[in-house]
Symmetry: C2
Subunit: 397 residues, 2 copies
């Protein structure tokens, strides 16, 4: 690539329980996109392309959504990568800009999800068609299945495997739920703002043992937007003070190795996340030791643990201890999911990856209010979609 790309404006809606607010996806998109333009202080007429992510809307929902911001005839792409859709749209926008093709591209993501239809993050239609389905038989034989959503079963079984292999405890898994719900209390855009004790988390309804409800992301509606711009654009519009650099970014999909594995931990994506992180570190010249704040894909508590290991925050097997130690909350080595994460902020599939970026931009600019991470200079976003892709992004102010 020939240049550097910067995030110059971000915006999100509050994430909401489906059905709790009467809005259409294009209304969400207008709210988030308009907020991103206002944040950058630029008009929509400067946007040269729009990469728009959603999983459950129609074939031209991207157009329907961006036309609320303006009708300027620019190229618009409908993009989908399951739960990694938002960061995939962001990666497209970044590539278009970093390669010198464009100076200002809108990444937009939204989802209006069916109430209660999707369990915890991905529907069975997606699941059935994904390579993950190939492993279903192996896991069914090993662990048995209950009448819970497939994703909850997959991640629940990965949690059991982690407990068996590494001695991880239920309390360590629940510590992630406790932390992320606590963090969200300072996030007015989060779907929930309720604080729970570890005992509350452990005692909430079992979704797929060992995962309890307060360790699972809910079904959510919402939208998020980010404007990605070239260095030339940043200078021309005097945005140096607010622009955040995308220092590295990588999108990884399955390899023969992950296909061949019979491990639930591999199937739900630890190797994919490690691969994406490794490439993003190499591209940026940054390492996990440089990172201050992390927004990662805690669709279930166990995935936060697996991602600690994939990002190099600890050795394989040590993530339960890390979570319980306080090292990933305020006052610790990193603050992970200051927004509340998917577990408490919510998880509208198309929006999630861009909302992670928005939170990091606010953190790196020092605009995160009651959830500000002190002196945050480097942020890492991690977004993964089962059967789709893992995307890791490094942001630097």
């Amino acid at each position: 690539m020939t240049g550097t790309a910067f995030v110059v404006g971000v915006g999100t809606t509050k994430f909401e329980k489906p059905g709790s607010r009467a809005w259409q996806y294009w209304e969400m998109a207008k709210e988030a996109g308009g907020a991103a333009l206002a944040d950058a202080g630029i008009g929509y007429d400067l946007v040269e392309q729009a990469a728009v992510g959603h999983c459950h809307q129609s074939s031209t929902a991207a157009q329907r959504a961006v036309y609320e911001l303006g009708r300027t005839g620019i190229p618009v792409y409908n993009v989908n990568n399951n739960c990694a859709t938002g960061s995939t749209a962001l990666a497209m926008a970044r590539r278009f800009v970093a390669s010198g093709a464009d100076d200002c591209v809108l990444a937009l993501g939204f989802e209006k999800m069916a109430k209660g239809a999707l369990g915890a993050g991905a529907d069975s239609g997606d699941f059935a068609a994904s390579p993950v389905a190939r492993h279903y038989g192996i896991m069914a034989a090993r662990h048995g299945f209950a009448a819970t959503p497939p994703t909850a079963q997959l991640f629940g079984n990965a949690a059991r495997e982690h407990m068996e292999r590494y001695g991880t405890t239920r309390e360590q898994l629940a510590a992630v739920g406790e932390k992320n719900h606590r963090h969200s209390a300072a996030n007015p855009r989060a779907q929930f703002q309720d604080v729970y004790t570890l005992r509350d988390v452990l005692g909430s309804r079992t979704v797929h043992d060992p995962l309890t409800k307060l360790q699972c992301s809910p079904t959510s509606d919402g939208a998020a937007a980010a404007l990605v711009a070239s260095e030339r654009f940043v200078r021309a519009h005097g945005l140096q003070g607010r622009a955040v650099e995308i220092a590295g970014q990588a999108l990884a999909t399955d390899t023969e190795e992950t296909f061949a594995s019979g491990s639930c931990i591999d199937v739900v994506g630890r190797p994919l996340s490690r691969a994406a992180a490794g490439r993003a570190y190499r591209e940026s010249g940054l390492g996990i030791e440089d990172v201050d704040v992390v927004e990662l894909h805690d669709c279930f508590s166990v995935n936060e643990l697996l991602t600690y290991e994939a990002l190099g925050m600890c050795a394989e097997g040590d993530s339960g201890e890390l979570a319980a130690s306080g090292a990933t909350t305020y006052g610790g080595r990193w603050v992970v999911n200051p927004s509340g994460g998917l577990i408490s902020k919510g998880h509208p599939l198309g929006a999630t990856g861009i909302a992670q970026c928005a939170e990091l931009v606010w953190q790196l600019r020092g605009e995160a209010g009651g959830r500000q991470v002190a002196d945050a200079r480097v942020g890492l976003a991690h977004n993964i979609g089962l059967g789709g892709a893992a995307v890791v992004t490094l942001l630097r102010r």
Copy 2:
């Protein structure tokens, strides 16, 4: 952009009536993608990204499909722009390469459509969410609606408007159906290979007056693939003799002007097609006078007429006369839809735009067999999706 992009390999399946062959979308994709790799004489391990178009499959169908070719961990994008999906994937691949970011990108498109579920090209769910729906009320008041698919109504009403405004005749419209069915007789990959008289076309069942069945694209299954590569890649792999240059390409979406219009002709996309063509001509330095062979989006006969006008092949209103004159078939000024077009080759939404590219590559290389256009040096592809985008591509050998 910093460089030129070339198509170095293409492949398609035969297009088929849904249900007539027991295959899954990933089997189609493997067949088309494998053919494109074989055509280029390169291995899948050289592919750096995959832009994959489909409208009706799941959120991770792109991954499911490309994994049949290899599991190398590369970025994979699920892309959708309704009936313009294939060319949108191609445009992404071209941008990634032309901007210097990649040396070899796979554009892949496929569709496994529900038998009889989609009428002639787009489903009502897409339609309902598209900006086109805003015009539905206007047209219903002007023309009335029957129990036919919305797209057939929209294009049928555009045909009526063309007849009223310009004196276009039913015979001129039917001439497009006659020509494209005749062309497909030489295309073993076409869904149909039957020749009809003008009287046959006029006498076939009325879908939405004045459009008869033999002037409408069918519902189809199928896949198509194109490998897009940099000049450096072409030289390194000795592909100079087979590479076809993408000399210009543009993707246009709606503007305030098209939104405001109450004309069916505008609503179905003549202004969008004109905008995309104008940008592609400017970028390439080529004009319609340089073009020898055209593959255009004849979802209905009337759209071939509207596109003649949008591409500058004749003045507005003169397209009926042009079609009836023989100027757009073998021996005429241009050969339009030598493949049989959407009307007779078929229209699997995600594949169509890439299959147009494949036909032009074969024509420009002189490999089109019984449907070869003599001494073809410049080809133009035109693909449009209602509510989505118009994409025009200029290919040069």
